[in-house]
């Protein structure tokens, strides 16, 4: 993944101070051990420590190094594993550049710096590597993702996609598939086990006339959690018809004349149990009031204006094709067919088109006859010219 390099870099950054300290301190401790302690609090970069240290003897340096390492290791022993890891990365980089480890590089560097200038490019390359590790890859200012406020952002990561992975959407889709499979596995393997807990349905007995309803939100707190509803049929309470009627009238709009149930709910109190207690008392009071013979309310008709019974259209019973109906229909069709056949045979069947055609034919016939009569008349009175002819003749003159 593209982010591996970045992770490594971040790792190094996190133990930056620790890495710097030995690198910087070692040469300086030899000269002024007190300054390294002060340096831990400075905000200046550690690069200044790379200034050429004052020349010392090898023995002094070795002894000083031995002294200097000890407090550092004490710090490591205290449990800072990141620091150890940072030094390991430095060792690895040093190995790649042909040193045994970072310690060796530091020691040889000073020797080489003094004796053999021919090996300077090699050293420079390594230093470049170190610098890169230290600072991370250089920010590309021309990149689309470059941000001035956050110049350390790795723009390469966003710019380049190595075509080695599916897209983010595909990942989420896969996640979805995994989730569904998880639930399917549950449904197949776990849910059947629930049937062990199933109990057979027991219809309420005659004594269980109240039907209670509680609400749970599966552990969630909800304002409707405290609500309790009770339903009962006044006819099931073992009252006389008059008492039951009175109960219905007392229940008012809480009585549903369609289902013949009284339904009362309560959410006045904080806990469901309190609400249930209230409802239970209320039902007791209602029954007691209904049984009170002082006023039976018989003169008041039951008011059902609160409930509008909506008639649902049902298939009419009369339309059902029973055997009798089938027989009747067949009989009827046969009779009608026979009548029609007889009507056709006797020519009694009325046809609108035929009627019009007959009329038109008759009319044409009449006109024809009339025309013939008209033609006959001039033959009879040939001597007398028609009036139209005489008039036209006059006009011509």
């Amino acid at each position: 993944m593209a982010s591996a390099a970045n992770a490594a870099r971040l790792n190094i950054l996190s133990c930056r101070q620790v890495v710097r300290l030995p690198r910087v301190a070692r040469p300086q401790l030899i000269a002024t051990p007190a300054t390294s302690l002060r340096r831990t609090f400075t905000s200046t970069t550690a690069r200044r420590a790379e200034e050429p240290p004052a020349p010392t003897t090898d023995t002094d340096a070795a002894a000083a190094a031995a002294n200097a390492v000890d407090p550092n290791f004490a710090d490591l022993k205290a449990g800072n594993i990141d620091k150890l890891q940072g030094s390991r990365i430095l060792d690895y980089a040093a190995k790649e550049n042909g040193y045994l480890d970072f310690e060796e590089f530091v020691s040889t560097h000073h020797k080489v710096g003094a004796d053999a200038p021919s090996s300077i490019p090699k050293v420079r390359a390594f230093e470049q590597t170190l610098k890169e590790i230290d600072e991370g890859p250089r920010a590309e200012k021309s990149s689309f993702w470059y941000d001035e406020d956050d110049p350390e952002t790795n723009t390469n990561e966003h710019d380049e996609f190595d075509e080695d992975d599916i897209t983010e959407m595909a990942h989420s889709k896969l996640e979805e598939v995994r989730e569904m499979r998880h639930y399917q596995r549950l449904a197949i393997w776990e849910l059947p086990l629930l049937s062990k807990l199933a109990k057979p349905f027991e219809p309420p007995t005659e004594k269980q006339v109240l039907r209670w309803r509680y609400t749970t939100y599966m552990g969630d707190t909800h304002p409707a959690e405290k609500k309790v509803v009770v339903q009962f049929a006044p006819d099931d309470l073992g009252l006389t018809p008059v008492q039951a009627e009175k109960l219905k009238k007392l229940a008012g709009p809480r009585y549903n004349p369609e289902t013949e149930f009284v339904k009362i709910s309560c959410e006045s109190y904080t806990h469901p149990a309190q609400n249930k207690r209230y409802l239970s008392n209320l039902v007791d009071d209602l029954i007691a009031a209904a049984k009170d013979p002082k006023d039976t309310f018989e003169d008041i008709p039951l008011d059902t204006r609160h409930h509008k019974i909506q008639e649902k259209p049902k298939f009419p019973k009369e339309w059902l094709i029973t055997e009798d109906r089938q027989k009747f229909l067949e009989e009827d069709r046969r009779r009608v067919g026979l009548e029609e056949y007889q009507a056709i045979q006797s020519g009694e069947l009325v046809d609108g088109k035929q009627a019009i055609n007959n009329y038109l034919a008759k009319k044409m016939e009449d006109e024809q006859r009339k025309l013939e009569e008209v033609v006959e008349v001039p033959k009879g009175g040939a001597a007398k010219p028609s009036t139209w002819a005489s008039k036209s003749g006059k006009a011509r003159r």
Partner: protein, 460 residues
């Protein structure tokens, strides 16, 4: 000069001016002076006569762009209400029996077509028994189908005349089922049997506040007459029942109206020339008709629900007047409820209107109860919490019998469609298939709907 001018007013006019013999006719409600109607037009000035001058600069100018004559007053109503009883393009149907006096009372005539005889067509037209919504204008001559209910109605009318009892009937049924036609059939039966027929063709005309009304003096609680409507009704009664009324002599003393003893009832009606005396005259006529020894009377009304509610008229305290407080409506309602006996027999028929229906809970209840009682079903009880019940309406209708008119059966359909086809209006073979198709399309043989699907298919 001033004195000369003032003297001029005393001069006799050189051109004799006719004295004013008749009052200036103007609307009684108008406050404008009547002068403008009398004075001659002022001479047109030259400015006004120049017609080329553009006066109206309105955009789109509807009236100026297309010159159209505005219809005269009443012209549109006349067009809307015109009754056309023949169509020369339709074929004449031969072999149809003519309606006779006792035809509708015979059970054998059920399911047959009959033609309305010419002598009563004019009477029916005068009584406005034909409705503009009925399809008379399609056929050569007016015919009707004597359906089962019509025959039942006819036989009941016959019985009523025989027993000298009033038959009180309310016709109900769904829209376009033929209730108004049943009224027409009853009227034709009555006319052919020399009954006296009084018909109120539209009850809503009485109660929707469109005719003038006045309180009848000395009535407590107040009763209101509708003078102009009653005057027209009297003239209708006279025209439609002229022959019968002329044969009946006045029995009571109506010398106040200038009527002498021995004059006929027709003359009683004719004494009423002005609307002020219309209600008195109608009352006198009704009293005379309900005396023993007169012919039976048929009093029919179409649109029952309109007289069951409050009318649109107001009393002096600006309260709405109940329709039963209108004198003519009350006369009808009293006859319908049996309060007024008809000693000569006769019938009072009220027909509900399907399309122009006003829902009235009392009317619905009483009709439902009567119908259930007649068919032996459980009688519906009134809703104890309904507040719009009206006891007067309930009382007025509780003594009636309900005759429900719905669709016709297949055999009647066959007869009717045979007539349509023979008239050249239904261009189909009247076979089983056609009959049942139209019958089903018309909601189980509703005649009006059947006309729609079979005859009026080209109407937009």
């Amino acid at each position: 000069m001033a004195s000369a001018n003032s003297l001029r007013s005393l001069m006799r006019p050189s051109i004799p001016v006719a004295p004013r013999l008749y009052p200036i006719i103007s609307s009684s409600f108008s406050t404008t002076t009547a002068l403008s109607a009398v004075t001659g037009r002022a001479p047109k000035s030259s400015v006004v006569t120049s017609t080329k001058m553009k006066k109206n600069f309105k955009k789109g100018g509807g009236s100026t762009s297309a010159p159209m004559k505005k219809p005269n007053p009443g012209e549109r109503k006349a067009f809307r209400k015109r009754i056309q009883l023949s169509n020369n393009s339709a074929l004449a149907v031969e072999g149809v029996e003519v309606l006779k006096a006792d035809t509708l009372a015979q059970s054998s005539s059920a399911g047959k077509m009959f033609s309305i005889p010419d002598e009563i067509i004019d009477q029916l037209r005068t009584l406005e028994a034909f409705k503009a919504t009925q399809a008379w204008n399609l056929f050569r001559k007016p015919h009707f189908l004597a359906r089962k209910e019509a025959v039942e109605l006819g036989s009941r009318l016959e019985n009523a005349a025989k027993k000298k009892e009033a038959e009180k009937i309310v016709l109900t049924g769904s829209k376009l089922s033929g209730k108004s036609l049943a009224v027409l059939q009853a009227i034709s039966y009555a006319l052919l049997n020399k009954w006296v027929v009084i018909n109120i063709p539209e009850a809503q005309d009485l109660t929707n506040g469109n005719t003038d009304y006045a309180q009848i003096p000395n009535t407590e609680p107040a009763v209101y007459s509708q003078p102009v409507y009653v005057l027209r009704l009297l003239q209708t009664i006279y025209k439609a029942n002229k022959a019968v009324l002329e044969s009946l002599k006045v029995e009571k003393d109506w010398s106040l109206t200038g009527l002498q003893k021995g004059n006929s009832l027709a003359e009683l009606i004719l004494t009423c020339k002005e609307s002020e005396f219309a209600w008195t005259t109608f009352n006198a006529l009704w009293t005379e008709l309900t005396l023993p020894g007169r012919p039976p009377v048929l009093f029919s009304l179409d649109g029952l629900s309109h007289i069951s509610k409050l009318s649109q008229y107001r009393d002096p305290a600006f309260n709405l007047i109940h329709s039963h407080d209108l004198a003519l409506v009350r006369t009808f309602v009293d006859a319908l409820s049996g309060k007024t006996k008809l000693p000569n027999g006769g019938a009072v028929i009220a027909s509900t209107s399907g399309n122009n229906m006003q829902f009235h809970p009392s009317q619905e209840l009483v009709l439902a109860q009567l119908e259930a009682g007649q068919s032996g079903k459980p009688i519906p009880t009134p809703d104890p919490y309904e507040k719009n019940y009206d006891e007067r309406v309930y009382e007025s209708l509780k003594n009636t019998s309900v005759l429900r008119i719905e669709g016709i059966n297949h055999d009647d359909t066959k007869t009717l469609m045979g007539y349509w086809a023979a008239s050249g209006l239904l261009r189909n073979v009247v076979n089983n298939h056609t009959i049942r198709e139209k019958w089903a399309l018309a909601g189980n043989g509703n005649v009006g709907e059947m006309e729609r699907v079979a005859l009026l298919t080209m109407r937009m």
